[in-house]
């Protein structure tokens, strides 16, 4: 784990900034175009959730470089209202905002590891990892 960088999410255009930074880091680590697109899409979903539901928060990137594997970890943190029913939001087609409801379950499928911690009234933290193969 050598460096960490964060993008604050406050406006809709910050989503684009987070996505671009994430894509650049992914490219540097050596991900192919398909995985870059997956990572960019996952970042887009996480950042948009922050923008839509929490108002503000941040997305952090960390390059992982261990002895035997490389990867990228993305942590999305907000201090928003939290998620009421975690098992519900992980179901396909569940949405409180009239969207497609594919965001979080989609991110889980796009990435290799997925961790979510959410406390009502305190906020949400989602950590995802994509390993370089």
């Amino acid at each position: 784990m050598d460096f960490q960088s964060c993008v604050n999410i406050k406006k809709e255009w910050d989503i684009v900034g987070a996505r671009q930074l994430g894509r650049d880091i992914a490219k540097k680590i050596g991900f192919g175009t398909v995985d870059q697109a997956r990572i960019a899409t996952a970042i887009s979903e996480l950042a948009r959730n922050i923008y839509l539901y929490a108002g503000s928060g941040k997305v952090c990137f960390e390059a992982i470089d261990d002895m035997n594997h490389k990867g990228l970890s993305i942590i999305a943190v907000d201090e928003g209202p939290g998620i009421e029913e975690l098992s519900q939001v992980m179901e396909d087609g569940f949405s409180t905002s009239g969207g497609l409801g594919a965001g979080l379950p989609g991110v889980k499928r796009l990435m290799d590891e997925f961790d979510i911690v959410s406390e009502q009234g305190k906020g949400t933290e989602i950590k995802v990892v994509k390993w370089l193969r």
Partner: protein, 289 residues
């Protein structure tokens, strides 16, 4: 005492200018002015300090200041050059006044600081306002330019129109896309609309949702929407996300989409006879050589 201070500064302007120039010259080593030639830097410094003194002398902001800042904005000088310069001027002037005074107590010191601030403050404010005004102007112009580019609808043939999308789609733009699409379909009597997303870098659930809604709206007014330009990596992420795009036809490229649009409107591309002949002739003549 205020008038005394002013005349003291104005009478000794040469000394202050010298001190100021030395300090500012040292600042040149900083990154932002390293690409500017020495001559230009020096002449700009001289002009800058003259402008400062003339606005102190006239007890107010002169039109020279506006001209000067406008020229620097046009040349692309950084704002930090001007604010640093004013900062240095304040320091140098206070130092100079204090060095000229025999007795310095705290009351005197605060009067001097106040006076110099009253000279420097309005100039800084004016410069910052000029700069930020020009930035805001540029941003608003670019926003308009971007909006004009954001959702064009091109009638390529009778009953067939194309909407090429390039760049990030945000909610504002998604609204524009929907409006232009529906307006255009009715205006051009389009039976088939091709939405080309070759230039859209990321298709997430929000973008997909807006495209699905637009296609559904097009279907409601009796036309067909074909989504084209789906790159392989985008196709994979759409599948991973679990987005259902089965409600309308999709194609990998605009060309394929256009072909199916022609089929939908009972037409096809036919090569003209003469062209075939001329190509054959050309091949024959090449064979002959």
């Amino acid at each position: 005492m205020d008038a005394k201070l002013k005349s003291l500064v104005l009478e000794n302007s040469n000394d202050i200018v010298k001190m100021w120039l030395e300090e500012v010259q040292n600042n040149k080593n900083k990154e932002y002015t390293s690409t500017i030639s020495d001559e230009l830097f020096e002449s700009t410094n001289r002009e800058f300090v003259n402008v400062i003194f003339s606005s102190i002398e006239n007890q107010g902001l002169s039109s020279e200041l506006d001209d000067f800042s406008e020229r620097l904005i046009n040349l692309g000088w950084p704002l930090s050059y001007l604010t640093d310069g004013m900062q240095v001027f304040r320091r140098v002037t206070i130092d100079f006044i204090l060095s000229q005074s025999d007795k310095v107590d705290s009351e005197y010191l605060s009067r001097v600081m106040q006076k110099v601030d009253a000279w420097v403050g309005p100039i800084i404010n004016r410069l910052v306002n000029e700069y930020s005004g020009s930035w805001e102007h540029i941003v608003s112009l670019q926003r308009v330019a971007l909006q004009e580019l954001s959702a064009p609808l091109i009638p390529v043939m009778e009953n067939i129109t194309v909407m090429p999308l390039i760049g990030t789609i945000d909610t504002e733009r998604a609204k524009l896309i929907m409006e232009n699409l529906l307006d255009g379909v009715i205006k051009h009597h389009a039976d088939v609309v091709l939405i080309d997303i070759t230039g859209v870098p990321v298709v997430d659930t929000m973008v997909a949702h807006h495209i699905i809604q637009a296609a559904e709206a097009v279907r409601l007014i009796g036309s067909t929407c074909i989504l084209v330009g789906i790159r392989p990596e985008i196709a994979q992420t759409i599948v991973n996300l679990g987005i259902d795009l089965t409600k309308f036809p999709t194609k990998s490229s605009l060309r394929k989409g256009f072909q199916s649009a022609l089929e939908l409107t009972n037409r096809k591309i036919v090569a003209t006879e003469e062209k075939d002949e001329s190509i054959e002739k050309l091949i024959d003549s090449l064979d002959g050589e």
